[in-house]
């Protein structure tokens, strides 16, 4: 039986998203510089929109479905871990901050790859970066789509292929026609839904559990481990949880889809506003959603499948219409992550491959049609792969978050602030970062009780510094 109370808010919300997509297409059609507009929204994002698009891009299926599911079985320790994400907002925007904004304007850079190529005067960096962005982000788009379709499938009596089709095509249409501006504006709506959805659900769950005191007593009765920082089975060590500060806190600086947002703000005032808003919103959403997962354990102790904790508890504690609004939140989170990744991959293909190597003299009209076409083709390929995801894709997706961080964090950050950093350092840092991440993951996961990403980030740092210093003399000789 289809529950129309739940479906109605979801339909209204899809409808609004489409209107935004069509509206932003006007900007794309009227813009003097198609590339600037389509891939960067003409660098005109204000503080609130910037904050929301940062938050929505970052908050994905794992913040609304996966995370609360783990919190349900582990307890408050997982909420503690999730709070390592609090710095994302202020750290990315202060560290990349003004320098990245100014320099990318000087370079007239539209993509992160433009920035790297200009900074290091190297085509190889561009090629390496484009390849890693395309491979890693492609696989994470597919993974997010699978998540979105699974969620739709669990809510409505429809099959997986139909759910995937609805999900994939609704995202693709507005991304293709509206570009970055459509992504940022829909992110603002999606982010607002995520925020209020979290608050509504949190209040409802506390209510259903008979207040926080009562919930804590119940949790103590189920398993005292649930209220400790160490998790129900005591497996969350302080060093493991702390290592997440690198993976989901400060390492986020290296994620291309996040870094590109630090190129898009209008002026320093919007950057300042965004720092504040992102910090508050990311903090409230992460704290709220993961607490919901823990509290759900006291309300409904026997949910077997971790990923169904959030939908199950929502439908149990809220009347249908509100449940629809709250369930729009994980949909929103997935859509807003996917749309950003899709435009990112598309920019890598159009700007960094097509315009750099295939057809540098392409006319504006040609660039337009190629951009629409590439975005559409990418979407369709992801859709076909997500229909029955190959194992290879799932394997790749495991590395995408940490792999991209290990590849990009030092070439970007040290590239901005360390004069001696050169192309040899950057190239070795990227290669060492990605390969050591894959090797550690295969042969020595969670080395020394910390998340796998720690050593690759350390090694790529050493590679960057050592190779830059060693090759410095050679560079000097060349430049003379």
């Amino acid at each position: 039986m289809m529950n129309w109370g739940i479906v109605l808010p979801l339909i209204i919300f899809l409808f609004i998203i489409f209107i935004v997509g069509f509206w932003t297409n006007k900007h794309v059609r009227n813009s003097d510089s198609f590339l600037q507009e389509y891939f960067l929204g003409s660098r005109s994002m204000g503080g609130f929109i910037l904050a929301m698009t940062m938050m929505a891009t970052y908050g994905s299926a794992s913040s609304f479905i996966g995370g609360p599911g783990i919190a349900y079985s582990t307890g408050l320790g997982w909420v503690l871990l999730a709070m390592a994400q609090l710095p994302t907002g202020y750290f990315v925007l202060t560290v990349l901050g003004k320098k990245f904004a100014i320099v990318s304007r000087q370079y007239r850079a539209i993509t992160l790859i433009d920035f790297l190529k200009n900074r290091y005067h190297s085509e190889w960096i561009g090629i390496l970066a484009a390849i890693s962005i395309i491979i890693f982000l492609f696989s994470s788009i597919a993974a997010q789509w699978v998540g979105g379709a699974r969620l739709l499938e669990s809510l409505f009596p429809i099959s997986y292929p139909i759910a995937l089709t609805i999900f994939a095509f609704s995202v693709m249409i507005y991304v293709i026609i509206g570009g970055f501006r459509a992504v940022a504006l829909t992110d603002t709506i999606l982010g607002t839904i995520m925020f209020f959805g979290t608050l509504i659900l949190l209040v409802a769950v506390i209510n259903a559990g008979g207040g926080i005191n009562n919930i804590m007593e119940n949790l103590m009765a189920i398993d005292p481990g649930l209220v400790t920082p160490f998790g129900a089975d005591g497996s969350l060590s302080a060093s493991y949880v702390s290592s997440y500060w690198i993976l989901v806190g400060i390492g986020v600086v290296g994620l291309p889809q996040i870094a590109v947002r630090a190129m898009s703000y209008k002026n320093s005032r919007s950057m300042h506003q965004a720092i504040i808003i992102t910090t508050v919103f990311v903090g409230i959403i992460m704290l709220g959603m993961h607490l919901v997962g823990v509290f759900a354990r006291a309300v409904h102790p026997n949910i077997a499948v971790a990923d169904s904790v959030m939908p199950t508890i929502t439908m149990e504690v809220l009347p249908p219409f509100f449940a629809g609004i709250v369930l729009a939140a994980p949909m929103a989170a997935i859509m807003s992550t996917v749309n950003a990744l899709l435009i990112m991959v598309s920019s890598a293909v159009v700007k960094d491959i097509y315009l750099s190597y295939v057809n540098p003299q392409a006319q504006d009209q040609k660039v337009r049609s190629i951009s629409y076409l590439v975005t559409a083709i990418l979407g369709v390929i992801v859709y076909l792969m997500a229909l029955s995801p190959p194992d290879f894709l799932i394997w790749l997706n495991l590395f995408s978050f940490g792999g991209l961080e290990a590849a990009f964090i030092w070439p970007v950050v040290l590239g901005l602030y360390w004069k001696k950093g050169n192309k040899y350092g950057a190239i070795s840092s990227m290669i060492v970062g990605v390969t050591s991440y894959i090797l550690f993951h295969q042969f020595y996961p969670n080395a020394l009780g910390m998340h796998t990403v720690i050593f690759p980030i350390l090694l790529s740092f050493l590679a960057f510094v050592a190779v830059s210093v060693i090759t410095q003399k050679k560079e000097l000789v060349h430049s003379i």
């Binding site: 925007l93 560290v95 100014i102 320099v103 926080i212």
Partner: protein, 103 residues
């Protein structure tokens, strides 16, 4: 090729560098606060926990209060330590104004 201006002594870059260090400072403070309360108060056995507003004290301070403290700190830092600078070059500025008058 244009001369790379990324390491010129543009005064805006000094501002940017200072603010980047402030960001690192904030994250260190945030981490220490989070770690000290979580493992300082949370390492005893759960039967001995004290509770604040229903939450175990370690959780209350390390996750809830830290969110409030960091938000206030970020607001103060941005309002009083961060400087507004222009992102455009002088030449670009003219271009942009042209664009605005067209759009």
């Amino acid at each position: 090729m244009d001369k790379d201006k990324i390491f010129s002594d543009d005064s805006r870059f000094k501002v940017a560098k200072k603010e980047a260090w402030i960001g690192i400072g904030l994250v260190l403070f945030n981490f220490i606060w989070w770690f000290a309360f979580a493992y300082g108060l949370g390492s005893q056995s759960p039967e001995e926990y004290t509770y604040i507003l229903g939450f175990p004290a370690w959780f209350f301070y390390s996750c809830i209060v830290s969110l409030i403290v960091m938000s206030i700190l970020v607001i103060i830092v941005v309002k009083y330590c961060f400087k507004e600078v222009t992102f455009e070059e002088e030449i670009d500025k003219v271009d942009e104004e042209k664009e605005k008058s067209i759009g």
